[in-house]
């Protein structure tokens, strides 16, 4: 009969078509996964920078507004506004303008496109302290990538920290191009790995390395050279001119 004749090829045909459909769906899923990964790269390396730069700019001008508004008499050790940010970091060698510095190194803070000073595991010393290590962290890539060009910093380069009243001019004296992520000794108030043995006024920059990963940490150490009072026109020190 015609019916039984056509049955066997039809079943084969059906099985083949079903297999093709399954393979097709798997292929489409793989393509979709690839597209999503490409989108994630775009998100990480571009979109987070857009968001973070926008946020950092907003917060930075907020801090500057506050500085401009506050009368000079109100400035004392107690008048420090730490929540909004304590000042701006200028590293000419990194060619990225000014970086707002805020308390904390959690991802919520750093993702705003700012640098954070450590509160744990080792509490940072403040630039205005008599001695201590002002330890900072910021993103190497994405979220503003504020320390992207950390590898361009050479020994002898200036690092300037700007507060409402004072320019703190540091000079880079050592770096560590690759160290373990667990190396918290770099944050010590006297960072021995940098070759220092006496208390002083140090500054430490930390970020991840190599670029686009976070396998290791890159460390740059600087020491305070001098301070300058901020004048009425906020004339930057000669290192930034």
């Amino acid at each position: 009969m015609a019916r039984t004749d056509g049955d066997e090829p039809r079943r084969q045909d059906l099985a083949r078509r079903r297999l093709a459909a399954v393979v097709g769906v798997i292929g489409e899923l793989l393509i979709t996964a690839g597209v999503i990964m490409a989108l994630f790269v775009a998100y990480s390396l571009w979109w987070t920078n857009v968001l973070a730069d926008r946020e950092a700019k907003r917060q930075g001008s907020h801090v500057r507004d506050n500085w401009a508004k506050a009368p000079a008499a109100a400035t004392g050790p107690g008048a420090l506004d730490t929540k909004d940010g304590i000042g701006f970091l200028h590293v000419p060698a990194m060619r990225n303008g000014e970086v707002l510095v805020k308390p904390g190194t959690g991802s919520k803070v750093l993702n705003e496109g700012v640098a954070g000073f450590y509160r744990e595991p080792v509490k940072a010393g403040m630039p205005w302290d008599r001695q201590g290590n002002f330890t900072l962290a910021a993103h190497r890539d994405g979220h503003g990538a504020k320390f992207h060009n950390i590898d361009k910093i050479k020994t002898g380069d200036p690092v300037v920290f700007e507060t409402r009243d004072t320019w703190y001019v540091y000079k880079v004296y050592a770096d560590l191009k690759e160290t373990s992520r667990f190396n918290v000794d770099v944050l010590d108030s006297v960072p021995k790995e940098s070759g220092k043995t006496r208390p002083g006024r140090y500054l430490t920059l930390t970020t991840c390395t190599p670029v686009y990963t976070s396998d290791y940490r890159y460390i740059v150490w600087a020491e305070l050279e001098r301070t300058e009072k901020v004048d009425a026109k906020r004339t930057p020190p000669k290192e930034l001119r």
């Binding site: 990480s44 991802s107 992520r181």
Partner: protein
């Protein structure tokens, strides 16, 4: 999968293309706004601090994770 979606979209080819474009944009929006921000901290690409989240005792590093 995509063929199945295409077949179930209403209208002629132009309308289908337009709806597809909107669907793609919606998917990208959801990814950028919700999925990637959620996924990013779970991926090991962007830790910049030393001893991130690890408690320290007596100067030695205790790894708890």
């Amino acid at each position: 999968m995509y063929v199945w979606i295409w077949r179930h979209l209403p209208g002629n080819a132009w309308v289908k293309a337009l709806i597809s474009l909107l669907l793609v944009l919606a998917a990208v929006y959801v990814l950028f706004q919700y999925v990637f921000p959620w996924a990013e901290p779970l991926l090991p690409f962007n830790d910049v601090t030393v001893d991130n989240g690890m408690p320290v005792s007596n100067g030695t590093v205790a790894v708890v994770r």
